[in-house]
Subunit: 82 residues, 2 copies
């Protein structure tokens, strides 16, 4: 059994309106010096597999086809034994 | 200048309907052996501060008051020099 940890982030060139909203909200909180807020997703799941290699391939397929939008987002994947 | 990296995750005891939806979608993709999908947020932002301590305090305040819902979510925060 393996645990997959996935970070999905918007590409640098893509505007992040959710991040901008957080920046404005931070300012109203009275906290200064916060900027360049970028909001992404963090996904964890369990993957079955006979080997780490096999689990990694299944997890990568899930990332490519389901979790990340390849036009706008990048993902990074870590698979570790559980 | 410091970079704050925040993971916001649903508490273990809280149901994750978004994760369940991904599990079903994974099954329709034909990928087997994926379960316990949990979907959280990953947020990065820049924080100004004279020291790492000061930047960390500002970042923690942002997490507590804005990014994480303390009733349902946990957060982990890493602040590193940039």
């Amino acid at each position: 059994m393996f645990l997959a940890k996935v970070h999905v982030t918007l590409r640098k060139s893509i505007l992040d309106p959710q991040g901008k909203a957080v920046e404005h909200a931070v300012a109203t909180l009275g906290v200064v010096g916060v900027d360049e807020v970028r909001i992404g997703k963090y996904i964890e799941f369990r993957v079955d597999g006979k080997s780490e290699q096999e689990a990694r391939e299944a997890a990568e397929q899930v990332c490519r086809k389901l979790l990340a939008n390849p036009v706008m987002e990048d993902f990074s994947l870590v698979v570790e034994p559980q």
